[in-house]
């Protein structure tokens, strides 16, 4: 039975996966992808069907576990933010080599304009690089519908499929019509029964060079078929227009921003792209009748660059077709698009009436009042003021905000886990004190292996784990190391007497400072665990 629901793009994708017979979701939280997994965790079908939905330690373990589920013949979904793709890249790229057995879909949520991220890398390049199909819905309804198609395609062609969302799609709500309602299973696909890869494909799961060389060849040969399917899928619709001075290629939600400016229909021919490999044949057709092609992509200029190459090769540079987009300045080189940016690029005037107000100032995010990270930084700063040349290597999480006033407490933040490993390299270079600051969830995500390096090389570093017992920045998901941090550090080889635990509260400042100072003065690996529950999750627990 059909049902109408108001869903975020993330939630639409999640529900589509549930209705497509999902058996497990594997994910590490990351804005803007977190709500996919949370929706699945809270959905009644998850309990009813015993769908795996616990958080994973990082994106690599998530990707690998999902690959294992696919090997066993069941449908698995992996979710992450775009930079999580870097963490799981090894598993992701090689999953195209093993191929999929049960449907395997990877949902990557990109963050153009970097609302909550350190870069705006475009996950479509990962699919391109791994020679995998990629689906990029332009609406919440498409997110719901396409994920089912992605699972079917993955299974039929033994290939994982990447679903790419961007922030605005992930975090925007719209009405979605579903095939099944909460009370009835009509239209909801049953889960796969366990089954192993068919005999002719089973060997590809062992990627010894002699075997995977054959598989790379097959994968390359499959590209023509992927392209053919993509062009005939109906997901890359071409709409002709009367004015052939220009043709427009609009990908994913960029198509929405284009059409917003033409409520009565676009005068130019438009190729909407929501499925990759991008439809080369359709692009060639457009180039044959249009003098200029404008490429509108939410993200980096993937099609635009390829299109320049495509037109050049085919007409020896003399096709005469001009390509416009992010590379020639028609559209901004970086940042997310919006209807106004498109408006200007199309030569229409932006309809702004009121000027920007004079009396507004930025209101940057800040650590919550009463947050334990605040007390930790207060104590750390008091200690480090005594040491000239101290350097603090930070990490990814709420505590990155310790860079901001009034703390100015960290000197770096790069990616998950870089705090303590950078501290090692700096200490090797003579920096002292060399301090790493990492959160509990980030430590288990990507810090433990670095700590082993530190122990093995007897690095002179102090690692501070600011443990708030949750994955705070993304809204308070379970943290893999809760209750285990001391045991983990000890097992990795940190000396027991140099694993110290303190409680970050103003009344404890003298003790906190004493402990931090003692461990800085110890010339070896020391760990100070600074533990107090996140005040946001504490408030929720109190209710």
């Amino acid at each position: 039975m059909e049902e109408k629901l108001l869903l975020l793009g993330d939630e639409a994708l999640a529900l589509g996966a549930l209705h497509a017979g999902l058996s497990g979701v594997y994910a590490y939280p990351g804005t803007p992808s977190t709500e996919i997994t949370e929706y699945i965790q809270a959905h009644p079908l998850t309990k009813e069907r015993g769908i795996h939905s616990d958080w994973c330690t990082n994106e690599k373990t998530a990707m690998e576990a999902a690959l294992g589920m696919s090997y066993a013949g069941k449908r698995a979904l992996v979710c992450m933010k775009h930079v999580g793709m870097n963490v799981c890249a090894d598993a992701f790229v090689n999953s195209a080599i093993t191929g999929a057995n049960g449907g395997l879909v990877i949902a990557a949520c990109d963050d153009p304009s970097q609302h909550s991220s350190q870069n705006e890398q475009d996950s479509r390049f990962y699919a391109d690089f791994a020679m995998m199909p990629c689906f990029e819905p332009s609406s919440q309804q498409e997110a719901y519908d396409m994920v089912r198609g992605a699972f079917d395609y993955s299974e039929a062609n033994h290939i994982p499929v990447l679903m790419r969302l961007t922030t605005r799609m992930a975090h925007s709500r719209a009405v979605v019509r579903t095939v099944g309602s909460a009370g009835s299973l009509t239209g909801i696909r049953p889960q796969n029964k366990m089954h192993f890869p068919p005999e002719e494909l089973a060997r590809f799961w062992v990627t010894l060079p002699g075997i995977s060389r054959q598989r790379v060849k097959i994968l390359s040969e499959q590209q023509d078929q992927f392209l053919h399917d993509s062009e005939l899928s109906g997901r890359n619709p071409f709409t002709d227009g009367p004015n052939h001075e220009m043709g427009i290629v609009a990908c994913g939600i960029a198509w929405n921003y284009l059409m917003e400016n033409y409520p009565d229909g676009c005068p130019y021919p438009v190729l909407k792209v929501t499925r990759y490999p991008f439809p080369k044949g359709l692009l060639r057709q457009m180039a044959a009748t249009c003098k200029t092609i404008m490429v509108v992509e939410e993200g980096q200029p993937l099609i635009e660059e390829r299109l320049r190459g495509l037109l050049y090769t085919e007409a020896e540079g003399a096709s005469g077709v001009k390509v416009k987009g992010r590379l020639d300045g028609t559209l901004p080189r970086n940042g997310e698009l919006n209807p106004d940016i498109l408006r200007e690029a199309l030569g229409m005037e932006v309809r702004q009436v009121f000027p920007e107000a004079a009396r507004t100032v930025p209101r940057p995010p800040s650590l919550c009042q009463g947050c334990g990270h605040r007390d930790f930084y207060t104590a750390l700063n008091a200690v480090l003021a005594k040491y000239e040349g101290a350097r603090v290597f930070g990490d990814i999480g709420c505590y990155t905000l310790g860079y901001m006033p009034p703390f100015h407490a960290i000197h770096s933040c790069v990616e998950m886990g870089a705090s303590l490993t950078m501290a090692i390299g700096a200490a090797d270079s003579g920096v002292w004190p060399s301090v790493g600051v990492i959160g509990d969830s980030t430590f288990t995500h990507s810090g433990m292996t670095g700590l082993l390096d530190a122990v093995n090389s007897k690095a002179d570093i102090t690692l501070c784990i600011s443990d708030n017992l949750t994955t705070g920045m993304t809204g308070g998901q379970d943290s893999a190391g809760t209750g285990k941090l001391e045991a983990i550090c000890e097992a990795i080889g940190v000396e027991k007497e140099h694993i110290r635990t303190i409680v970050p509260l103003p009344r404890n400042y003298p003790e906190m400072e004493r402990v931090i100072e003692e461990e800085i003065n110890y010339h070896g690996v020391s760990v100070v665990i600074c533990r107090r529950e996140c005040i946001q999750t504490a408030k929720r627990h109190a209710k």
């Binding site: 804005t31 609302h115 605005r168 975090h171 921003y257 106004d340 009436v353 100032v361 995010p365 920045m473």
Partner: protein, 195 residues
Amino acid sequence: MKRDIILSGVGGQGILSIATVIGWAALKENLYLKQAEVHGMSRRGGDVQSNLRLGTGPIFSDLVPKGECDLIISLEPMEALRYLPWLSPEGWVVTNTTPFVNIPNYPPIGEVMAELGQVPNLITLDCDSIAKEVRSPRSANMVLLGASARVLGILEPDNLKAGIEAVFARKGETVVQANISAFNAGFEESGKFSK
């Protein structure tokens, strides 16, 4: 018919609850809807906004174009100012007058209100005090929604109230009633402003 709305405030003030109630009412009235929210890092004491677009026909963009917004609903006066470039010439601003000062360089509130005064269609009210008066101190956001109901122009106030009942139902009848009282108080207060 379509209505473009920008909801603004500071992370934690409750703009998403307003958006959820409007969304519920829009679904009930069978309208098309797109609602872009802000989640994640910027929530922590930073400025937050939600673009809400309602219409009787399909909506393309999740974001409101500049100069097109029919209504800015703001839980904080400076945050209302921030979105003026999006306001249409006939658009309304409905804003709480209580400043949320969590930054050292917050402009003088008198100057903020004076600049808001240039908007011809303006409703200002002290949502925090009104919420306290009706003994719902935590429902300043529903006071604001009540005050906006008169100029929303596409949703029936009764459906918004039904939305409040549905959205807050799991928190119990006391919370529902507190939010309804807050909504009513805001609605009444906005009657003092000419439409």
